[in-house]
Structure formats: C-alpha cells, structure tokens
C-alpha cells in the first residue's frame, strides 16, 4: 500500500481518493461537521531524513489554511500528504467519498499548447465522461473568472509569470474542486501579479472552496487565511485561528519563533 516517501498514483478527478484504503469507511461518516481531510499519525521520511513528524491534522470544510515556516520545514510535504499523492505513515481519511481536489505549484507546468487547450485537457483529465459542450462552457467560465479570455488562443508558455499562474488557477478552478491546495503560489510573482492571484483566491474562498496554501509571506497569510499553521523542522509548532496567531497572546511565542525575520 502506501510506502513512506514514495509517490502514489494519479489523483483522479471523480473517483475514490488514491492510496486511501479507509475512504470508503469514512464516507459513512459524511456530515456537515466532518473534516474534509483528516490525518492521523501521518509522517514522512525520505530514507533517514524525516520530512514530517507524525502529526494529526484536520482540514475543515470552508477553511482557508496558511502553512508558514522556513524552507525545508515540511510545508510542501504536508500539502502533498493532504493531496494524497505521497506515501506516508499513519492514515488519511477524506470526509467525502470522492473528494474533488486540485493543486497549484509555485511554477505551474503548462503544456506546449494554447491556453485554451491546456484548460480543455485538464477538464478532460479530471472527468473523462464530461460532454464536450460542458467542457467548452467550463473552460470559458474559468478563463473569464481569472481574466484571461483575451489570451485563449495564445501559446500557454508565452504568457507572463503572473498570467501563467492565473491560468493554473483557472485550470484548477474549472474542475470545481472542493479542496484547493497551493504551494507558494505567489513566490515567483511581481507585486501586481501577486495581488491579482490573492484576489482570485479570496474569491474562491468566498465561494466556499476549502483552501490550504503555503507561503513565506506572513502578510499574505494574514490577508487570506482563517487559520495559520507554523511548521518547523517537520513539526507543527503553532496552529491557531488567524486572529489569534497575530494577537498579543501569541506574540511572545511568535517573536521567538520568527527570529529568522519573516515578519510582515
């Protein structure tokens, strides 16, 4: 089954979550209060290096969670485990039998095709049975939402960094994911592009999409997140609602934690 640190198979759009033997059992417990993803004792090591200590972690429906921490603190690993593409110790349960998810990376991988084709292929991959007209409609809506309709025929790789990231978001959103995961989505972008992306993410969150994203930018975390999780050397150091995270009660610990100078 799941082997520590090894990749699992593809994350399907509409079928049972990959690498998760207990999802069928968990579907019996579907309810408004059930977390979207539930990790118990999930840890990851690559050989002798421990990337993530065994943790318990819940992603609640509708939350916007920011993972913050230094490089190598385990943010990306945790995202991958939540996504279900990384083998790990412990268990991962989803609150829904067939959880629709999408992940966006710091630098999006786009095929050497037009913007439009990239979208259509992503929709096809997510749901093979979707009729062509619906695929067409969804692609159009996604492009409009991120403001790239004028560029539909352009080669995707010819777009600017910010535009490419917005395309990645369109690609993710077109599949109407319940859970959206992002790994440092604005780290390579200029300030304007960053703002545009943040606006889109805020919009998705307002629509009810559950979002988990990692960032170096505490300001971004404060702007977008409902809950902030600080990771350090593979452990969860502080996991608090956004307001608490930044208020004086946590400030003392925060000052000690962020001696590396990552304050907004």
């Amino acid at each position: 089954m799941a082997v520590n640190g090894k990749r699992l198979r593809a994350v399907p759009g509409g079928d049972a979550a990959a690498g998760d033997a207990t999802s069928e059992a968990a579907s019996a417990a579907v309810g408004a209060g059930a977390p979207l993803v539930q990790l118990r004792g999930a840890g990851v090591s690559y050989g002798t290096v421990r990337a993530l200590a065994p943790i318990d972690f819940d992603v609640g429906r509708g939350e916007v969670i920011a993972l913050v921490g230094a490089n190598g603190s385990g943010k990306t690993t945790l995202l991958r485990v939540l996504h279900g593409v990384l083998g790990h110790e412990g268990t991962r349960r989803t609150g829904v039998a067939a959880l629709r998810q999408a992940m966006v990376f710091q630098r999006p991988f786009l095929l050497r095709l037009s913007v439009w084709s990239n979208l259509r292929i992503a929709l096809w991959l997510a749901e093979r049975a979707m009729p062509a007209e619906e695929r067409h409609a969804r692609a159009g809506q996604a492009l409009a939402r991120v403001g790239l309709d004028a560029l539909a025929a352009r080669p995707a790789r010819a777009l600017s960094g910010g535009e490419q990231q917005r395309l990645a978001l369109a690609r993710a959103w077109a599949t109407r994911p319940e859970l959206l995961l992002l790994d440092e989505p604005t780290a390579s972008l200029d300030p304007d592009a960053k703002t545009a992306v943040e606006k889109l993410l805020a919009g998705f969150a307002a629509d009810g999409t559950t979002i988990v994203f990692s960032t170096h930018d505490l300001g971004q975390a404060r702007r977008l997140a409902t809950r902030i999780v600080h990771l350090d050397a593979g452990r969860i150091d502080l996991d608090a609602p956004a307001r608490e995270f930044f208020d004086s009660a946590a400030a003392r610990r925060r000052d000690g934690l962020f001696a590396d100078g990552a304050l907004p």
């Binding site: 399907p12 509409g14 079928d15 093979r128």
Partner: protein, 282 residues
C-alpha cells in the same frame, strides 16, 4: 475510468498492429500476380556483366522476370537446400553433383564455360608466364617473396583454385604457404587487394575484363584447358520444396540450353572479346 482504459489500450494495440501489417498487405497482391523466379548465382557471374545482357532476352521471350541473388557458390547451393531459390546457375561441377545426389535438385545441364586466368605483376619475379597453370603454381609455391591472394569463400572459383593447387602438389596452401592470403571475399574485392599488394591471383576472365583498378597486374597464364570453368543450371527439386516455381524455372533452364539462349550467351562481349562459350548438349 477503470473500465475505459483497457478498452482504449486494446483499440490502440489493434491500430498499431494494423499499421505495421500494412506494408505486408501491400506486398501480397504483387506476389500473387508476378511471373518471376529467384535465381541464385555467383558473384563472379554477376560481376562479369552477363545478366543485364542475358536475362532481358529471356524475359522478352517468355515474360518471366528473373530475380538474381548473387552470392558464393557455397551459399547459392545452400539457398537451394533451404528452398529460397527456384533455380541455381553456378560453376562447381563437383559440388553440383553432390547437391543433386543429396536429392535437392533435378538433374543439371551444361550451359556454357568461361575460363580462369592467372594474373600477377608485370615484373613476374616468380617467372610463371606461359600456358601451364600447374607449372605456374608450382613455381609460386617455391617463391616465398611473392604474395598469392585467394578468395577463400567456398566459391566455385575458390574450389577450382584449390584443385589446381592440389595438382601442383600443394594440398593445403593456406597451411603450407606463408605467402598465401585469404580474404573471404568476392572476385572484385580480391582483385582490389591483389592490385594493391602487387600479388598473384586466380581470376575468372569476365571479372578481370570488367575490372578497372588493375594497377601493375596483367594476365600471365591463360589458355590451359584445365582453366576452363563449366557452368551448370539446376532446377531446385519441388519434391523437397513445394514452393519452387517448377514450370517457370524449367522454362528458364530450357531457354538457356536452347539455340536462342546459347546464341545470346555467345554474343556477350567485353571489349570485343567473347567471355562465355556455350556448350549445352543438344
């Protein structure tokens, strides 16, 4: 999703096989209709230039195409044994008789003869010039300073050469003579080597006349009746290989020994010189 992939895979596999079967499919109709035979002959015959002169005449008379595979006599007979040729046209009587005795071919017929010549450097330090091949070879055996090049490829020419050496008292020239070199190659390449090394060599007149790269070589011994090289035609036995095109191959054999075929053979000349002398029995 789990049910669709195997279907797609199967469909793709079928398409792949179809795509590769296409050239094979295209080849089939051609085979069904063509009137042609495969003839295994020797490289020396091909290099003499006889075929472009002889075969079109046959095709014109009968409408049958002849596809020539030119290899060494040994390989030609082997092709007959494997059934990959319909008719053989070679020049090694002993090997041919053996082939027929083993049951692979129908009785052979004489068609024509050409002759071998001993070529060597103009300076002829071994002093072999003349009309006696055995005397020449005896002298060569005793001249370690002069190189002798042999084809060494189990061809009719090679077999004949070994017979002459035996008559001259050398029954294993490769072992006995340090200055004897085998190339395992056809007549043309062997001539190339001899030309480059200024060596002695037994060649068939046809290839020699066509050969351009002579260097210092010239004919030193010719006209000895022992140098005559008899050609025979053999139809591969259909009892052993049912795929042999018996009638077409027989037509070829019949034409070769007919007056028309014999005359065509006699008419082939290089530089005004006749190369092959028809001697089919009537």
């Amino acid at each position: 999703m789990t049910t669709r992939i195997p279907l797609r895979r199967a469909r793709r596999a079928v398409l792949v096989l179809l795509a590769c079967a296409l050239p094979l499919a295209l080849a089939q109709p051609a085979r069904a209709q063509d009137r042609s035979i495969v003839m295994a002959s020797t490289t020396s015959t091909e290099q003499s230039g006889l075929f472009p002169h002889l075969l079109p005449a046959f095709t014109k008379a009968t409408g049958i195409q002849v596809k020539v595979i030119a290899v060494g006599t040994g390989q030609a007979l082997d092709m007959g044994r494997r059934g990959d040729a319909d008719v053989l046209f070679v020049h090694d009587r002993a090997a041919e008789e053996k082939f027929i005795a083993e049951g692979w071919g129908l009785p052979r017929r004489d068609v024509m003869y050409n002759d071998f010549v001993l070529v060597g450097p103009k300076s002829d330090k071994a002093g072999v010039r003349g009309k006696d091949i055995v005397a020449a070879l005896t002298k060569l055996a005793a001249s370690p300073a002069e190189t002798f090049v042999s084809r060494g490829d189990k061809s009719g020419t090679h077999a004949a050469e070994l017979r002459y050496w035996k008559t001259a008292g050398v029954d294993a020239p490769k072992a006995k003579m340090a200055h004897y070199e085998e190339c395992g190659c056809g007549m043309g390449p062997a001539l190339n080597i001899a030309s480059a090394k200024n060596a002695y060599l037994l060649a068939d007149r046809g290839t020699w006349l066509n050969f351009q790269n002579r260097g210092d070589l010239e004919i030193l011994v010719e006209g000895d009746t022992r140098l005559f090289n008899q050609y025979g035609v053999i139809v591969v036995d259909p009892a052993k290989h049912p795929n042999v095109k018996r009638e077409l191959a027989q037509a070829f054999s019949d034409w070769l020994v007919s007056p028309a075929g014999q005359e065509t053979i006699a008419r082939y000349k290089i530089g005004g010189q006749q190369l092959f002398f028809p001697n089919a029995k009537p």
